[in-house]
């Protein structure tokens, strides 16, 4: 499944109102480890179904970073029914992401 670009505009529709779990990768261009997390998320998104994957640029969407108290990146949040179901801070392997999603 394609990875969606999450923004302040589409956050509610794509994440909070989604009918499947959504994994959101909070990242920024200047963050070294985030450059490594991106491809891992892309790869997993290709492999699994029934989960939505999104990337949220904290520079462009600071209010969402603040709302979810993101203070270190990469941060990965899994949303289910509009709520945070799982979270991880720092670079995660593909297996780590799977564990986060409970798959």
């Amino acid at each position: 499944m394609a990875v969606i670009k999450i923004t302040e505009q589409n956050f509610e529709e794509e994440v909070l109102n989604a009918d499947v779990p959504v994994l959101v990768d909070f990242w920024a261009v200047w963050c070294g480890p985030c450059q490594m997390q991106g491809p891992i998320v892309d790869e997993l998104a290709e492999e699994v179904s029934g989960v939505k994957f999104g990337k949220l640029n904290v520079d462009e969407n600071m209010s969402l970073a603040q709302r979810y108290r993101v203070a270190s990146i990469p941060t990965l949040l899994v949303f289910k029914d509009g709520r945070i179901a799982a979270s991880a801070v720092g670079l995660q392997s593909k297996d780590g992401l799977k564990r986060l999603l409970g798959i």
Binding site: C34, G90, S93
Partner: protein
């Protein structure tokens, strides 16, 4: 800035063993080490291959330094604080910056650990291990750095232009570096890092409190896991994750020796160094 094909961070058995191979393969090789490493305290090595009589760890390392130099490697004394990747690698140290196509992390293990209540619980919610990565979130806010050496001062320098104020907390340790003017230094022992959902401050052993929104951990010198975290290499929190070719998940970044875990011995460090060197030679040649 000095440019190399291969930079090896760590001048112990793993790093020097790799340097023997990469310099013999005519790769421009630099070995950076900050001190003697784990073997400085080993008086008698009896279980390494080829020693008719035991020799000291220092002697073993010093001999190999000469061997590496004779084969064409450059060796410098410096302490690396940061590594970043953008097609090639930039390393920042106390003495200068360096650039390379491939990097080997061979920094051994560090046994330092801060056992402060609240520290791991609040990781990612005010507790950070990378100033350059997370300074952005502390614009105009109060931050503190935990550490007492040059590495802590390096992290402070990343935060000062951004944060509203910054303090250095040594947690009872002696301050071993020069701190920029205007930075408050507190050498008292820390009892806890406070906050429910996010860091609100620090309480010292004597009960005094320091309000802070962020606490950046930079104890001792930057170890393998600290450097790995900054460049985006996967770790399990203690060791760097590598494949059979000693490659990490970051293209061009390899790791060998005690920093990859397993049997912490000279022979395994030397073997892993050799394997990593082969992979780096392949990587640099393929990359042109």
């Amino acid at each position: 800035m000095s440019e190399y094909d291969v930079i090896i961070v760590g001048n112990g058995p793993a790093g020097l063993s790799a340097a023997l191979y990469t310099s013999r393969a005519n790769l421009r090789t630099l070995v950076i080490g900050k001190d003697q490493g784990a073997l400085a305290k080993a008086d008698r090595i009896e279980n390494y291959f080829g020693l008719a009589e035991p020799i000291s760890g220092c002697e073993l390392v010093e001999n190999t330094k000469i061997q590496a130099k004779n084969l064409g490697a450059d060796l410098v004394t410096d302490e690396i604080f940061h590594i970043s990747w953008n097609q090639d690698f930039t390393l920042e140290g106390r003495e200068g910056s360096y650039r390379a196509k491939a990097v080997l992390l061979a920094t051994g293990t560090s046994r330092k650990k801060a056992d402060i209540e609240g520290l791991s619980r609040l990781e990612g919610h005010g507790v950070s291990y990378c100033a350059i990565c997370d300074a952005f979130f502390y614009r105009g806010r109060k931050v503190a750095v935990l550490g007492n050496e040059e590495y802590a001062v390096h992290e402070l320098a990343q935060l000062l232009p951004v944060a509203g104020s910054a303090a250095l907390l040594t947690d009872g340790k002696e301050l071993k570096a020069k701190v920029p003017e205007g930075v408050q230094v507190i050498t008292k022992k820390i009892r806890s890092v406070d906050g429910e959902e996010a860091v609100t401050g620090v309480t010292f052993a004597d009960g005094e409190r320091l309000p802070a929104d962020g606490l950046f951990v930079a104890l001792g010198s930057a170890g393998a896991v600290d450097l790995a975290r900054k460049v985006g290499a996967l770790t399990d929190g203690r060791s760097i994750q590598v494949d059979e070719a000693m490659a990490t998940n970051v293209p061009g970044l390899f790791a060998a020796g005690d920093c990859t875990g397993g049997l912490l011995q000279i022979s395994t460090a030397v073997g892993e160094g050799a394997k990593a060197a082969m992979s780096m030679i392949k990587y640099v040649r393929r990359d042109g």
